[in-house]
């Protein structure tokens, strides 16, 4: 799209400035083209070459915006205002508004003002830490530990070498908010780390970024280089005597457990990413056995804003124990998938229905999965739950890094639980017996249930294993691995029972529990199903009723998708 517009601009010698920006969060309207003129901003969605050229011709050429294609604008009511109206953008404040590869554009948007404020006003380390404590910011990576306290501990441990690490190993399947921040506003993360380094007297910084995000790594590299050139990184930063700090990027090699801080440190040191016992906490003995502070991407992105606007301004948003805003990645069976940032305290229902526009094809909302493999499913009858750490925890799910995967009536909850167990079982580092073997046994039971071989007592066995794994695992991965199973048992026990006792999958997902049959009234005898059946399980002459031999049928579903007369019934 960019190349095409650029070519058009050149060919017709048009006078406008063309820029690349990053994700604004409206993934469901992609590709997007935004035009900013003297009157304001116009965001055009679902663009193709023809439409984009039309917009450029009419809007740029004749100053006549094409309202039909505008999906969002501050100037008038648009279709997607419900998506943006209730959002409060702090961590994502620049995403989609600046060129992420330009430090000047970041500076124009008040970038690096926070660290200048610290230098200019002579804010002490304790002032900075006190501001963080006062803001109530809690770790956005999932744990929810107060950031200010973490900094205080790291500051209390004196050492000639200290480290600050940014956890950008976003491994939760279904979460992509950190990627968006890194790709859209890398300088905000750097500035957050620089402020943290000042507060705890860190001498070195590491961004541990997963290798699956090549664009994020590229933009971080550019940003680090720019910050070094401008003197935000290096020696005596902004004239603060003795404040020497630099950052380098460490590419992760693909291990979910490295999101755990002690495992992450082991990985940075070049070892297998296996967690170790705490204490000592990283604040006392972390990277290379030196005091280390670890926060995640979203946490760091919030920090410059907080320093600049003050703790009270940030604490205005949110609930009593969870202050500020949280970014959520909406995905799954939702109409408007994308990124949203909302104040803590909004209900899950509002996020999904008001911002997310509801369920695809207007099907019935069944549950939302929060917190990835460590989290759980919040069923529709609890959708009034508000998003803050404690309310979400009370349902058995966790806030996690902020993935919200929406599920409708066609999602089988046992299949979902099995999916997560398959993931955690593969990602278990193997150190603790209960996690290593327990998750394997749980996966076997779940697989058995989805294959129609479930036995009485399986649910109880799953529960027993769950509690043992939770109680006897060293790190967060093991302690939370059974959560998807426990929450689905808690809220969807009848679905488990249907699989085990009746050998039925109510959502019609588990292939082994399905039967395909020919509908006597609808079948026209067109022979399409018989021709396409890979195992020749369908018999019948032309223009006569067909029949599926259940002993041969492998339940591949090809007949169901090929039939044009809705003559294959699924049960």
């Amino acid at each position: 799209m960019y190349d095409k517009i650029e070519a058009l601009k050149k060919a017709e010698n048009l006078k406008f400035e063309l820029k690349k920006t990053s994700c604004v969060g409206m993934c469901y309207r992609e590709p997007l083209v935004e035009i900013i003129d003297d009157t304001g901003r116009y965001l055009y969605g679902e663009m193709d070459e023809e439409r984009a050229f039309e917009v450029i011709d009419k809007h740029v050429g004749q100053q006549n915006p094409v309202r039909d294609y505008v999906v969002q604008s501050d100037l008038f009511e648009t279709v997607d205002n419900t998506f943006t109206d209730d959002q409060v953008k702090i961590a994502l404040r620049n995403c989609g508004y600046i060129d992420p590869e330009s430090i000047e554009e970041y500076e124009e948007k008040d970038g690096y003002r926070a660290i200048r404020k610290i230098a200019g006003h002579g804010m002490s380390r304790l002032d900075v830490i006190q501001t963080m404590i006062g803001s109530g910011l809690r770790g956005r990576g999932g744990g929810g530990f107060p950031t200010g306290l973490k900094w205080k501990f790291a500051n209390n441990n004196k050492s000639d070498e200290k480290y600050i690490i940014c956890n950008a190993d976003e491994g939760d399947p279904g979460a992509f908010m950190d990627r968006s921040v890194l790709e859209g506003d890398p300088h905000s993360v750097l500035e957050g780390m620089i402020i943290g380094a000042y507060a705890i007297e860190a001498t070195g910084g590491v961004i541990y970024c997963r290798a699956e995000y090549p664009l994020a790594i590229k933009r971080l590299q550019i940003a680090i280089k720019q910050a070094q050139e401008k003197g935000y990184l290096g020696k005596n930063i902004l004239g603060i005597e003795g404040f020497n700090f630099d950052i380098y990027i460490k590419e992760g090699a693909g291990a979910f457990v490295c999101g755990e801080e002690t495992a992450l440190i082991a990985s940075v040191e070049g070892q297998r990413g296996m967690p170790r016992k705490r204490p000592p906490f990283p604040a006392a003995s972390g990277l290379w056995k030196k005091p280390t502070n670890i926060n995640n991407v979203e946490t760091y992105a919030n920090i410059p804003w907080i320093i600049q606007h003050g703790a009270a301004e940030y604490a205005k948003y949110g609930t009593e124990k969870s202050k500020g805003t949280k970014v959520f990645a909406l995905a799954g069976k939702i109409k408007r998938s994308g990124l949203v940032e909302v104040p803590m305290g909004m209900s899950v229902k509002d996020v999904i229905f008001k911002l997310g526009g509801g369920i695809q094809d207007d099907k019935e909302f069944k549950a939302v999965q929060m917190g990835g493999p460590s989290g759980g499913c919040i069923p529709s009858h609890l959708s009034h739950t508000i998003v803050d750490y404690d309310s979400v925890n009370a349902t058995g799910a966790i806030m996690g890094s902020g993935g919200m995967v929406v599920m409708d009536e066609t999602t089988c909850m046992i299949d979902v639980a099995r999916f997560f167990l398959d993931f955690t079982q593969k990602e278990s580092c193997g150190k603790c017996t209960f996690c290593r073997i327990g998750t394997k046994r749980m996966l076997e039971i779940l697989t058995r249930i989805t294959e129609g071989k479930g036995e009485e007592g399986d649910i109880e066995k799953l529960e027993e294993l769950s509690y043992q794994i939770k109680d006897n695992s060293l790190c967060g991965l093991g302690q939370t691995a059974p959560n998807p199973v426990l929450t689905t048992i808690k809220y969807f026990r009848d679905e488990y029972e249907a699989h085990i006792r009746d050998k039925k999958c109510p959502a019609m997902v588990c292939t082994n529990l399905l039967t395909y049959e020919v509908d006597e009234t609808n079948c026209t005898g067109c022979t399409v199903c018989a021709k396409n059946c890979p195992v020749d399980a369908i018999s019948g002459a032309r223009k006569e009723l067909h029949h599926i031999d259940q002993d041969i049928c492998i339940k591949c579903g090809i007949c169901y998708t090929k039939c044009k007369f809705e003559a294959i019934n699924l049960s």
Binding site: G270, F419, G430
Partner: protein, 172 residues
């Protein structure tokens, strides 16, 4: 634990096809640096597409990191491959969002078309099929990635078509 990754078949004569001299600049860069093992392995994989046995041996000899430690790290992380891969790596995302949007159909169709199992390489050496955890494009689910190109909102037959088109352009 990824036990299945440890069982690897090797059929090629590495000595003949792997030019281990290519490792020299990499070793020069990371030798004697703290925490250099993972970047060394990543660098070796960038060069050869996987980490050949002979590369392990050379790296170990030159950096004095024991082979056992190298092998331990290489088998721990999902990124590292211990056998050669095809020219194009087809990564089918099996993250949560892709899973609920039926990513299984993509893998099944691709397996049938390419006649390989998950992790396998086609006979002509063009494609390696891999299932991966989240690629972070959840709003485009289900997603697959070939090289640096991401394809979203796919179904089985669309995925097959993309792969077939690549094969046609490769054969021309």
């Amino acid at each position: 634990m990824r036990i299945e990754r440890i069982d690897i078949k090797r059929e090629i004569d590495e000595q003949a096809v792997v030019d281990i001299e290519l490792l020299n600049p990499l070793i020069e860069k990371y030798k004697n640096k703290k925490g250099n093992l993972i970047p060394l392995l990543q660098g070796a994989q960038d060069i050869y597409g996987y980490i050949p046995n002979v590369a392990f041996e050379k790296l170990s000899k030159e950096t004095a990191i024991p082979l056992s430690e190298m092998y331990g790290v290489a088998t721990f992380y999902a990124q590292f491959r211990l056998s050669p891969v095809g020219k194009h790596i087809v990564k089918v995302c099996h993250g949560t969002a892709c899973h609920v949007q039926n990513a299984k159909a993509l893998t099944t169709s691709l397996k049938e078309t390419l006649k390989v199992d998950d992790g396998g390489t086609t006979e002509d050496g063009l494609f390696t099929l891999e299932s991966v955890a989240c690629l972070g494009c959840c709003s485009l689910a289900p997603v697959m990635m070939i090289g640096d190109e991401t394809y979203g909102k796919l179904n089985g037959s669309q995925a097959v078509k993309i792969v077939k088109n690549i094969r046609i352009s490769e054969n021309n």
